[in-house]
Subunit: 348 residues, 2 copies
DNA sequence: CTGAAAGCGCTTACAG
DNA sequence: CTGAAAGCGCTTACAG
């Protein structure tokens, strides 16, 4: 086992050192440095001396010690969806994270990114989560086969889930997937399309499953027959979207519109169309879901559903913090998406 | 001040509780739970009893207490470039973060995202950074006017900087901006262009400044005259890139190629071209820098310089961890970019 | 106005 | 093989 400190590295000034420097007890030093008990507690001269000593010694309170005493840390853990690697990639997660940060910033919380991934060793993950280092945790888009979620539900760690399966978790904050997809289908249908395909997302993700289910329901509500050869599933990324679209394009009879479960796969579908020399939307209309920033930059710009990610992430974070600080019960909430009409969809 | 624990929330089992449950000292319990001192230390029956008790009580070691003792936490802080808001947005930072995570994951470190932004209250930031909660810190793309960096340099917290100004920081890991830009200019020139414009990035960012300087140098090396009206500065985002391009397009005499200091602004330039009805690359070639994933999705796909962000971030993180654990000195490193030829650039 | 003491939860020599 | 004790750095009643 290595040394606790390297020899020439003088350790950070401690409360005891500043107290000694002034010749007061560490208790007094602590009181003045924390500004507790209004002014009358400590004489002006002592106070000034302590502050001065702290300054010259470069004293910073040790947060570990402070938190150990206080029983809270003002840090929130974030558990990103587990994929084998590159867990932070994908514009959706990025925006979720950004929304979380926007909110923690105003509350003075820091964020701890859990990097060990969900699937590998749930127990290690729990050690990290439950080791007192975080006051609560935000789980983002857990997979349905997550081993972490059931374990975490038995613990009393305050928790909130963004994009989770209601059958699997409580305290869920997410877009109203069903209403949004229905909205999308109705829009496509209103353009005159009845030959509609769907590129679904990975089915171990709740959002992907419910979007697909809603697609089915929407089609049946509108009395449009489903064509399984126009139904493909991808992985929510560009490449798999392109592959899925290519599979659809292999058919002799082609759909006139394809609804993709997220924007990334829609980008892939656009790629597939371009490389086959097909025009969007003249040959086939393509629609996405999420409205990530680049959605307006593709050619043609993508018609999609705006996913209020920032709002959702902030609401989830705020609810978690309110629960931690005041015990305010957390209630699941659903958010409205909205149609963003651009030019990747057109009249039949 | 609120209660430390809400009434009905029974606190997590403590080492003392498991020791009591078995009827041994907490020292013994600690030893078996940490597997220290090989097997001979504790009798098999005691060991089994402790483990069983820990299991049924749901014991998890408190990391705060452990770290307080150990003097390290196995967490690294990340300080993202300070912008007023949405600090996590931008594909570049996202990739840096992802690269960092990829590396911390293999070393078993967690990440603490510092959300208070650099500019606001440097002292608060220092409290968070120096409070013993992190073993080291990774600063990403600090602004030149950062008040944090000079303060941090005086502290002994292990630190590494990704995309920093060599005049301002040590331990820098970044792409060889100069060589990469020179490479880009030479490439554009080899296509026959001599009327070359540049959309530079925000000049309080070192990467943007040095790219602009390198652009100047490259032009002069090739004996191409600079035309200031073809030189605009943006903010490294799409909108400002579009605006910058529009300013360039206002001239009567137009360049035949424009080199943008990052991909985002190149996307904006592409937008500007499209909305003016101009063709890329027939009317003007556009080149970017970074090769973010969507760069291959624009129309036309963007010619750019591949920025090995993942490699850089991982190297920086690994160096930091090596220093923390073994005292291995950190040395600044520079990484090679490479030309990615796509179709937004063409022969004159 | 100030300090001695206990405690947050753990680990690690050091005795026995 | 096992435990009493000190200590990590802080805060907070409680006395004086």
């Amino acid at each position: 086992m290595r040394e606790k400190r390297r020899p020439n590295e003088k350790s950070r000034a401690t409360l005891k050192e500043v107290a000694n420097a002034v010749g007061v007890s560490i208790c007094t030093a602590s009181v003045v440095l924390n500004n507790s008990h209004s002014g009358s507690r400590v004489s002006e001269s002592t106070r000034a001396a302590v502050i001065e000593a702290a300054r010259t010694l470069g004293y910073r309170a040790n947060q570990l010690a402070r938190s150990l005493h206080a029983g809270h840390t003002h840090v929130l853990g974030v558990v990103p969806a587990a994929t084998d690697t590159n867990i932070l990639l994908g514009p959706h997660l990025q925006h979720v994270l950004n929304g979380i940060v926007n909110e923690t910033e105003v509350h003075g919380y820091d964020l701890s990114l859990i990097t060990r991934c969900d699937q590998s060793k749930p127990s290690d993950l729990l050690d990290a989560l439950l080791g007192g280092r975080m006051d609560g945790v935000i789980v983002v888009a857990p997979r349905s086969n997550s081993r972490l979620i059931p374990l975490l539900r038995n613990e009393k760690l305050p928790m909130v889930v963004i994009d989770g399966d209601p059958d699997q978790c409580d305290n869920i904050f997410e877009i109203d997937n069903e209403a949004s997809v229905l909205n999308a289908i109705r829009y496509i249908h209103s353009l005159g399309h009845t030959k509609i395909g769907h590129i679904a997302g990975p089915q171990d993700l709740y959002a992907a499953r419910i979007r697909k289910d809603a697609f089915f329901r929407g089609m049946s509500m509108l009395g449009i027959p489903l064509r399984t050869e126009w139904l493909q599933v991808g992985l929510f990324d560009v490449v798999s979207g392109e592959e899925a679209m290519n599979r659809i394009l292999k058919n002799d009879d082609l759909p006139t519109a394809v609804f993709c479960a997220n924007d990334e796969m829609a980008f892939g579908a656009l790629n597939a169309m371009h490389s086959k020399g097909l025009r969007v939307p003249e040959d086939i209309s393509i629609m996405g879901f999420d409205d990530v920033p680049v959605a307006s930059l593709t050619s043609p710009p993508l018609t999609t559903i705006k996913h209020p990610v920032d709002e959702i992430a902030r609401a989830a974070t705020a609810a978690l913090i309110n629960y931690i600080e005041d015990g305010t019960p957390i209630t699941s909430r659903t958010f409205l998406g909205s149609l963003v009409e651009r030019s990747s969809t057109g009249n039949l």
